[in-house]
């Protein structure tokens, strides 16, 4: 193995320019696709945090009888996604509104009667992470007797979730494309290396070298190109991540949210994928070029 590694490193040194181009291209591919992944991971965490803070407001019909409050609370709390249902009477609602509008109280001064309906503030269980579950819960609450309207900020959150889904799809697509591109780039480099060394390979065969002896360093070269390119791409991404994280105004994000980099397992997986792409590139090229 040591000898094969030495030969692979010597080959990389002998074909320095070709290998540098390949490593740089792999690094770029990893950088772009990982940037998508990193954005997606952080946006998903942000979405989850927002989701966990979501309060579903259940506005009741004007004729709703106070006597039915406990019955409705009990039916709400029996729904699997509901953690707690807090009743907010129309008077409590007005008091909250006045508190929120303490500098614009004149807006409310002309009101002859309290126009607010009774309401329930429904808090979700922590396990509820999927935005579709929230939408299903709202639909189920809407069907309960006495409920006039259910509001959970679906407008912008739905749009955000849709954008996130789009990013997820685009991210997967780009990862797949960059993986294929990496395979072909490595295949092409290996092909050029093989072309420049065809006489040497022929001599190796004639002196009794096995196909494994000839091919193993080239596979290893592909794996090393993938590893070095992947590491360089991730290093570039980390630098960009550190720079951009320092530029973000913390006031724009939830207090418990911080922009994170990939966890070690995912870094290992990206490097593994990059090495696999390198190995597949070599394999593809060797299968075509080194037919005996």
């Amino acid at each position: 193995m040591n000898r094969i590694l030495k030969r692979a490193l010597a080959d990389i040194r002998d074909n320095g320019f070709l290998n540098a181009i390949t490593v740089a291209t792999i690094a770029l591919a990893i950088l772009i696709s990982s940037a998508f992944g990193l954005f997606f991971i952080n946006a998903s965490r942000l979405m989850t945090l927002w989701q966990q803070g979501v309060r579903v407001m259940v506005y009741l019909q004007p004729e709703f009888a106070d006597a039915a409050v406990e019955d409705l609370r009990s039916r709400l709390e029996k729904l699997p996604a509901v953690g707690k249902a807090v009743f907010i009477s129309k008077d409590d609602g007005m008091a909250r509104l006045k508190k929120q509008l303490k500098h614009q109280l004149s807006l409310l001064s002309n009101l002859k009667a309290n126009p607010l309906p009774h309401a329930f503030e429904v808090q979700l269980r922590p396990a509820v992470r999927d935005w579709e579950e929230v939408a299903d819960l709202a639909a189920a609450i809407q069907k309960l007797a006495g409920v006039a309207e259910v509001e959970y900020g679906q407008g912008w959150l739905d749009r955000f979730a849709a954008i996130l889904r789009l990013f997820k799809l685009a991210g997967f697509g780009m990862c797949a494309l960059f993986f294929i591109a990496t395979v072909f780039i490595v295949a092409n480099t290996t092909r050029l290396v093989l072309y420049s060394r065809r006489e040497e390979i022929e001599i190796m065969r004639l002196v009794g070298a096995s196909e494994g002896f000839i091919r193993m360093p080239l596979y290893l070269e592909g794996i090393l190109q993938g590893a070095i390119g992947g590491a360089a791409g991730l290093a570039g991404l980390l630098a960009g991540h550190l720079y951009l994280s320092a530029q973000i105004d913390p006031g724009l994000l939830p207090s418990q949210f911080e922009v994170r980099f990939f966890p070690p397992a995912l870094i290992a997986a990206i490097l593994g994928g990059s090495m696999l792409a390198g190995c597949l590139g070599s394999l593809l090229s060797l299968r075509q070029q080194l037919k005996t």
Partner: protein, 232 residues
């Protein structure tokens, strides 16, 4: 002097043909070469000498007929066993065929690396064989910095370092001055005395005249009748 040949055939050819399209490079070759024989294959350019050598190490396949090398039938040998076959040969090519980007040491050690030998053994054997061919102080030189004679000596070192049973040499002195050619021939004879079978393709009649060995004559791809004595 040449050691008396063992009468066991190490190479046998039966009705071998080699065709390139409509051109018959070799026609109906039947031949036995014995262990520890010193054999010249001679004939004019285009007679099929190099082609015959290539068929022996499967540099090219025979179009028809059977070739046995040390009991291996080349028509039936699997692709995986070809390296095995080639390690039984040491091959000296017409134009040296050294790897220009590798040093003398690396060119010679390649054979032993391919055989999977240990690094310290490789060092020992390569230095020993370079001493034998008189190039022990040129081990770190690149082939293109050497003279033709020196390059051919590297080729000889590469051919014998793995201690093969059979040495094939295709015009080993063709592009050398008489003095260098003499050195190469002396090396080949020395290796033959160690028990190897040596087969040389050449059209250098002077060299054949100076060296004891069986002479096989080819013309237009056909074997000419062989003299009974082992001298030309």
């Amino acid at each position: 002097m040449m050691a008396p040949p063992d009468q066991q055939a190490i190479i046998r050819l039966f009705g071998v043909h080699r065709r390139y399209g409509a051109l018959n490079a070799l026609t109906d070759i039947g031949l036995d070469i014995f262990q520890n024989e010193f054999v010249f294959i001679t004939g004019p350019s285009g007679a099929g000498k190099s082609t015959l050598l290539k068929l022996l190490y499967l540099g090219e396949p025979a179009s028809e007929g059977q070739i046995l090398v040390d009991g291996l039938n080349l028509a039936r040998i699997s692709r995986k066993r070809i390296p095995d076959l080639r390690r039984r040969f040491g091959i000296i090519f017409q134009n040296y065929r050294l790897i220009p980007t590798r040093t003398v040491f690396a060119n010679v050690s390649l054979v032993l690396e391919a055989m999977g030998q240990k690094e310290h053994l490789i060092r020992k054997k390569v230095h020993s064989v370079l001493r034998t061919v008189g190039l022990e102080d040129r081990d770190s030189a690149l082939p293109l910095t050497l003279s033709g004679g020196e390059q051919q000596r590297v080729a000889v070192a590469r051919a014998i370092v793995g201690n093969p049973q059979i040495l094939l040499a295709d015009e080993p002195t063709g592009s050398l001055d008489p003095s260098s050619a003499g050195v190469i021939m002396a090396l080949l004879q020395r290796y033959h005395r160690r028990g190897a079978t040596v087969i040389i393709a050449t059209h250098d009649h002077e060299m054949i005249g100076r060296t004891r060995g069986r002479v096989i004559r080819l013309e237009h791809g056909r074997l000419l009748p062989q003299p009974t004595a082992d001298t030309p």
